[in-house]
Symmetry: C2
């Protein structure tokens, strides 16, 4: 066994806490040395003499012994760590830390993150991250959980591309929220539930953002398509990142003038007619409606839209609950695609995407001899 790898974890929301819990578990604890935890206010260097950090006590300990968050000093501590090969896990939702990735990577600190901001943002930042990380520079950047949480989507795409397969089309249901909404709204067996009712149930179950328009805008799906596209050398360029992806919004025109979340939720039923028509048209063709993201290399298109799928299509029948499903159509996987399906959101599976990235870093820096 090699020397444990120093890890700093910034961001202790739901995902950050699940990462902390996995890092401290028997499976991972021997391989990693947690040298720092931080939330948006405070950071704490570890080990703390006389005290053992656990998933149960980290917050009072951080509040009692922590110092005000200072990202610059965290970076310099990591880059000077005597064991080298330190890892920063950025589990914040921030824009500020992703903007620093190029600088962090250039210092030889590996970066692992579920934060989509750098990989889905403007080309300039993403190119700087790529330039400052492997194979262009020594430090590793991994973001498996930025798309589909713990599902092995990015690693599979990297393997397909890396071994010389030709990507023809990637299509999928990339939003757990929109998966749930359309799986309930447009079923193979029919049904006449109203769209507004399904959205309200999804909100009550906690499946949507506090303002459901944040899901229904399609922006999150566009971010994920951007991240995938950037791993395909032959994909169309997206200079403005996710903002360059044509994205069909599910906030209907009639509701676009809602001034507040409250007004929008109150008037939600005004959009029902539009969605009922879409569902009815699909049904006449023997199809269901799903909100999908598509990267079509044949036609050079990346887009997020409502699509119609035959009753026996995997997106219609096999897809359940709030699962994600992604089909990789390639030269080798043809005529039938390689399909990966499962929970694409949730703290534990998102954390797993990060800890499996950590294992990749460990394996790559562990001395084989």
């Amino acid at each position: 066994m090699s020397r444990p790898i120093p890890v700093a974890l910034i961001g202790l929301g739901g995902v950050g806490r699940a990462i902390l819990s996995q890092l401290l578990s028997p499976a991972l604890a021997p391989k990693f040395n947690l040298v720092l935890i931080a939330n948006s206010r405070q950071s704490l260097s570890l080990p703390l003499p006389g005290s053992q950090i656990t998933p149960a006590n980290y917050l009072p300990v951080l509040e009692k012994y922590g110092t005000p968050l200072d990202v610059a000093s965290i970076i310099s501590v990591l880059s000077a760590h005597p064991d080298g090969n330190a890892v920063l896990i950025d589990s914040t939702g921030s824009d500020a830390i992703p903007a620093l990735y190029p600088q962090i990577l250039k210092l030889g600190i590996h970066v692992i993150t579920p934060n989509k901001k750098a990989a889905s943002g403007k080309d300039e930042l993403w190119k700087a991250v790529a330039e400052a990380s492997y194979p262009n520079s020594p430090a590793l950047y991994y973001g498996e959980s930025t798309v589909g949480a713990g599902l092995p989507l990015l690693s599979t795409l990297k393997d397909l591309v890396g071994t010389g397969d030709e990507i023809i089309k990637i299509e999928g249901v990339f939003s757990g929220t929109l998966s749930y909404i359309f799986n309930e709204y447009s079923k193979v067996e029919g049904g006449d539930v109203k769209f507004s009712e399904v959205v309200k149930i999804a909100k009550d179950k906690g499946y949507t953002e506090p303002d459901p328009r944040d899901d229904l805008s399609g922006t999150d799906v566009a971010r994920k398509l951007t991240i995938l596209s950037r791993l395909i050398p032959t994909a169309p360029a997206l200079p403005e990142g996710y903002a360059s992806v044509p994205t069909q919004s599910l906030v209907p025109d009639v509701l676009s003038n809602a001034q507040s979340k409250e007004e929008y939720l109150e008037r939600l039923a005004e959009g029902d007619e539009y969605f009922a028509k879409v569902r009815e048209e699909a049904r006449k063709e023997g199809k269901v409606v799903r909100y999908v993201g598509e990267i079509d290399l044949v036609n050079g298109k990346v887009e997020c839209k409502l699509g119609k799928y035959d009753f026996d299509h995997a997106f219609a029948t096999a897809l359940k609950g709030s699962d994600n499903i992604v089909s990789f159509h390639t030269k080798r996987y043809s005529p039938r695609p390689l399909i990966i399906q499962g929970a694409g959101a949730g703290a534990d599976v998102t954390a797993m995407g990060c800890t499996s990235d950590l294992l990749k870093v460990y394996e790559r820096v562990a001395r084989l001899a």
Copy 2:
């Protein structure tokens, strides 16, 4: 870019030729240095002065310049390669080379193989392989394509286990041949095609082994379950390897006395009544029949059997053609499993399992600094 990694490829059947072709493609050629190719008779050290090996010319060149196959000398050449970190790809179907893996690995030679013999055979050999490879020894052993060809099944299982998830059950359709046969024989929409007819069509399409009993025995599925089980520390021990897995044979009792392949094929219809009854019973319950492999950690069982699945189960509707499908039920992926589906056989996708393993070796031995 690091120095190219020396690779020897033994076995030039369909899969071996596809590996050769991928290795020589622009995606992989810069990373690897093909130092030797061999089939069951001859081997050839490369580069050959004045001649460039290609997927089109390798055979006449091998026949003209090759020397009689001598595995011992191949091993000593690889272990003495000045660049170190040499890789042996064993693409043979042989028992003899897998028996040498422990010795090969101990010499520091990495082993990549689609050959199931070592990983699914007796405990003694498998333990010796594990002992002689990472993390117990420096050399790497990878066999992604031994289960599901290029589908990321072993890597996903390793990530689940490695990050501390708890495996509850793995179930899947692991045989392309049996997938095709039951997808045609037992359909959601019904139908009364005879089992013997489906087997004959599968044979005519080249989906079965020359003697279909080699597929219908379930042995190949038992091998795959053995390989998966051995990656799960909490799974039942299989001291005799795949021979310890209770395996339902699809060669019915009435046909067990067939003396030859020809007699078996001629008398195939004698089994139709049995399968018709199984299909009918399932249909009464609103289910279809599939031949599945199951690793059930709750009940401590590993078995291959005919299973019945609801019409809206992924194994019933979403599964098509000769695809494999595998569900990982875990503590994190619960109540809905993580599902991976796609072609689980074929030269190009099996080769891809090997070349993606090669990329993993490359990344792990490439100097980051």
